[in-house]
């Protein structure tokens, strides 16, 4: 491997470590929310700093790589994509932290197991985790064939999100004293929905890197070959 390739491979490895950490943060945020596990939620909050450090390191390494090695074509697209992906991963991790803080701070009794099931929170989380895991596979294997399927999963997340508004409205009507708690729960669901959107952005960055196609702000993102 030439030394210029080694530099890029090292940055890719950092992104992969960050990716694994973010996946683990989402999984723990999910478990803490579903099981009201405050200790686990605290763990998510305390690990957020590591994610931020990864983002800063990857930004700096990509800047150096671009400045020193003047990459072109696929190497340039990869460096640009990794800067965007690390920033997006950091935002996803922020949402996981936000959910964990909700678990730590929330004392309302509104979210019963029955309501959690009706809101399909577990499915929503699992779909986001699948989107993020599959997009890592796409990046690592430099294969965009999965991208259509990943983007389609965001529709599942959106559908659960839209349906949750009605479910929570009904619950709040029945429990008017819990309206504040209901609104906070809505914000949590919104965070999971935004995670899904960010996973779609990552897929778009991967398609830009591998296929040199720009899907952002175009209808193409909905018609990528599956």
């Amino acid at each position: 491997m030439k030394h210029t390739e080694k530099e890029l491979a090292a940055i890719k490895e950092e992104v992969s470590q960050m990716w694994r950490l973010v996946l683990s943060q989402i999984e723990k945020a999910k478990q803490s929310l579903l099981n009201n596990d405050i200790e686990l939620a605290r763990e998510v909050v305390s690990r957020e700093k590591r994610i931020n450090s990864f983002e800063l390191k990857i930004d700096s390494d990509c800047e150096n790589y671009i400045a020193l090695f003047n990459p072109v074509a696929i190497d340039l697209r990869l460096a640009l994509s990794l800067i965007k992906i690390s920033s997006t991963l950091e935002r996803i991790a922020d949402f996981a932290e936000g959910i964990a803080r909700y678990v730590i701070e929330n004392s309302c009794e509104l979210i019963t197991q029955e309501l959690k099931d009706e809101l399909r929170l577990e499915t929503m989380f699992d779909t986001v985790i699948e989107m993020l895991s599959d997009s890592y596979v796409a990046l690592d294997s430099e294969n965009t064939k999965l991208s259509g399927k990943i983007l389609a999963k965001d529709e599942t997340v959106d559908e659960i999100y839209h349906r949750s508004t009605g479910v929570l409205t009904d619950y709040m009507r029945q429990n008017p004293a819990e309206i504040e708690c209901g609104l906070k729960t809505m914000l949590v669901i919104r965070k999971i929905e935004r995670m899904g959107d960010h996973c779609s952005n990552i897929v778009e960055d991967i398609v830009f890197y591998i296929d040199a196609k720009v899907l952002k702000h175009s209808k193409n993102s909905e018609s990528v070959e599956s």
């Binding site: 030394h3 210029t4 400045a67």
Partner: protein, 248 residues
């Protein structure tokens, strides 16, 4: 390990290097960049006293290697040049076989042990990333090699006499992009065993291979810093203008 202290150098009345002081660490690659005539090659050639060969020149200041001023009267220039090898812009193999080109320095140095010479030739060609390409034609003329191979042969020739420091004056400027890439990889890999100082017109090459970069202009060392710093956020406006192509 290498240090220049208050260097001033003159070609006749022309003041070519002005008050230059800098240090270069062991086992690093240092690159000198700057517009033509800025003094970077003159400065490089001070370190193996190649400028001694030019008439009507004058040096002020000190060039130290491991603390010793190489311009002291007691210094044996031949011994110095054995310790400080040099590779030039244009490949300059001798009109001899590939093997003899690399063995040359050893023979001049009085080595007679044939096995030792064979081992050293192979080791040097390996280190110069040329062995696999020439191992079956060591007796062929060096002129049968391509330009890039000839340049790597010259690097092998420099390595054979076990120098500590290798000076390279535009070592890849006469080569095609693939040969250039091989030389750059070679420079990168050699630094674990040698201290390398390279003059290059190609700023990207300086960025790719060096740990530290010095920017020269009109005989002044404008800025000397970590290569990352120079190419990402130089401190001097002149450096920024030069590396961004706004000047020079």
């Amino acid at each position: 390990m290498i240090e220049a202290k208050d260097i001033n150098f003159y070609y006749g009345d022309f003041h070519a290097l002005k008050n230059i002081s800098m240090k270069m660490d062991k086992h690093t690659v240092t690159a000198f960049i700057g517009p033509s005539g800025c003094g970077k090659s003159t400065f490089l050639r001070l370190f193996n006293r190649m400028n001694d060969l030019i008439d009507d020149t004058r040096l002020e200041g000190q060039c130290l290697i491991d603390g010793q001023n190489i311009y002291d009267k007691s210094v044996d220039v031949s011994a110095l040049r054995k310790r400080v090898g040099m590779v030039f812009q244009k490949p300059n193999p001798f009109p001899q076989s590939i093997f003899e080109n690399v063995a040359y320095g050893l023979r001049v140095d009085g080595v007679r042990d044939k096995q030792l010479i064979r081992n050293k030739v192979e080791e040097s060609l390996q280190a110069a990333a040329l062995w696999e390409e020439v191992k079956d034609k060591l007796k062929k003329s060096a002129f049968e090699l391509s330009g890039g191979q000839q340049q790597r042969l010259c690097i092998a020739r420099a390595l054979a006499i076990s120098p500590d420091i290798i000076l390279m004056d535009e070592p890849a400027s006469a080569l095609d992009p693939i040969s250039t890439s091989k030389i750059e990889d070679l420079i990168y890999n050699l630094k674990k065993d040698y201290t390398i100082v390279i003059v290059t017109h190609n700023m990207q090459q300086a960025a790719r291979v060096s740990d530290k970069t010095g920017f020269f202009m009109l005989g002044n060392l404008v800025e000397y810093n970590d290569t990352k710093k120079i190419f990402l956020s130089p401190e001097m406006e002149e450096t920024q203008n030069y590396i961004t192509g706004r000047f020079g």
